[in-house]
């Protein structure tokens, strides 16, 4: 399941957009005519009158980002925490020194479980639901070098995962993107590299079918360039 898209070449005739800047062309397209005075007065008057109708219902105010942000995860957090704690307890039970098969089988799972063999930070990391997987809990793959083709990327990721990750090695600016935005269920590792001369971030995770996927994103704007299937295990 490789979805490879060549990196778009720069157009010498058009200056590359400064992605941090407002796009004036889009701004022009999206511009909305101001309300006419009558409509504005009506809207404002109705709103002010509604204050006299009674105090706000907390559910009505709706000032929490409950759809686009992470507050929905706060609702699911206790359930996810209970499940995650159960997984950690199970991992502690089965990953005893004499149970090497189970330990090996869990090698590629989320770091919160892999690191949970008795270490103090594990329960804290384990209570984070997968969608809140923050960059600090991702295993760092370091600099993977030139990963212009999927074969090189696969080899580089494999080699990086065999090494002890340096704690100070950055995981890349795109590492905090929720897995769901990448088409993944969980993310486990992140690193940096280059592809066709462009600085990229690589995020490794699993998709809904359980496949290990490496998502390559352009560092300057975290735009997904391609997704490569990685060998399992």
């Amino acid at each position: 399941m490789t979805d490879e898209t060549p990196i778009p070449p720069s157009d010498p005739g058009t200056p590359p957009p400064d992605d941090d800047a407002r796009d004036e062309q889009i701004a022009g397209l999206l511009a909305v005519e101001p309300l006419d005075d009558l409509t504005r007065r009506r809207l404002v008057t109705t709103a002010v009158s509604a204050v006299d109708a009674g105090p706000a219902d907390p559910d009505e105010l709706h000032d929490e980002p409950d759809r686009l942000g992470r507050s929905r995860f706060a609702v699911l957090l206790p359930v996810a925490a209970a499940i995650a704690i159960g997984i950690v307890v199970g991992a502690l039970v089965v990953t005893r020194p004499d149970d090497t098969t189970t330990t090996a089988a869990r090698k590629d799972t989320d770091t919160s479980v892999a690191a949970g063999a008795g270490s103090a930070p594990a329960p804290q990391a384990a209570v984070n639901p997968p969608a809140l997987n923050e960059s600090s809990s991702l295993r760092s793959l370091g600099d993977l070098g030139d990963i212009s083709d999927p074969e090189t990327l696969s080899q580089a990721v494999g080699a990086a995962q065999l090494k002890d990750a340096a704690a100070a090695t950055p995981t890349g600016v795109c590492a905090d993107i929720p897995p769901s935005d990448l088409g993944l269920v969980t993310t486990s590792a992140a690193g940096t590299g280059t592809a066709a001369g462009v600085a990229v971030n690589v995020i490794v995770g699993t998709d809904a079918t359980g496949e290990r996927i490496a998502v390559v994103l352009r560092s300057e704007d975290c735009l997904i360039i391609r997704k490569d299937l990685l060998p399992s295990g």
Partner: protein, 197 residues
Amino acid sequence: MSSDSHDAAPAGADDAALATAAAAGDRRALELLLDRHADRVHAICRRVVGHPEDALDATQEALIAIARGINRFDGRSAFTTWLYRVATNAALDELRRKARRPRPVETLPEPTASTSPLDERVGARLDVDAALATVPEEFRVAVILRDLCDLDYAEIAEVLDLPAGTVRSRISRGRAALAAALGNHELTSYRPSESDD
């Protein structure tokens, strides 16, 4: 409309001062505050929802929510950050309500052979609404907050309660999706990625 007996905030006061006065019961301050930001709220609703009448409904809901919840604004963030958050949520609520309502089929006027500059502007607006409707909500909102409302990445991250990297990604993908939906005729700076989910 009668104003409260202690109209403390003058018309030229900043948002924080007006919000504080409004929270204390100053109806005139509340009215000034809402009037000042009504266009901004409407612009968000108009582009998120896509339909003019539904956008007005969403705008009204947002202004009511702001008015009735003004005493919950604690001043820790800019007033506009809170305002944009309420407006965005009201627009998304309306979008979901609209999705659940059966709607009659709308017939658009047949395109005429000759187009005046006004026709072209109207055509472009219809194209933009139709194009925006194809962009996933989370990307659409990010683009609207950045390019229409001119919020910076940090402000958008605060409004949407997302990491900055996610904001950056959603804006990029939203812009690319919008360009693709417009057939790249309107936007010349983007080459959409085929890897978008």
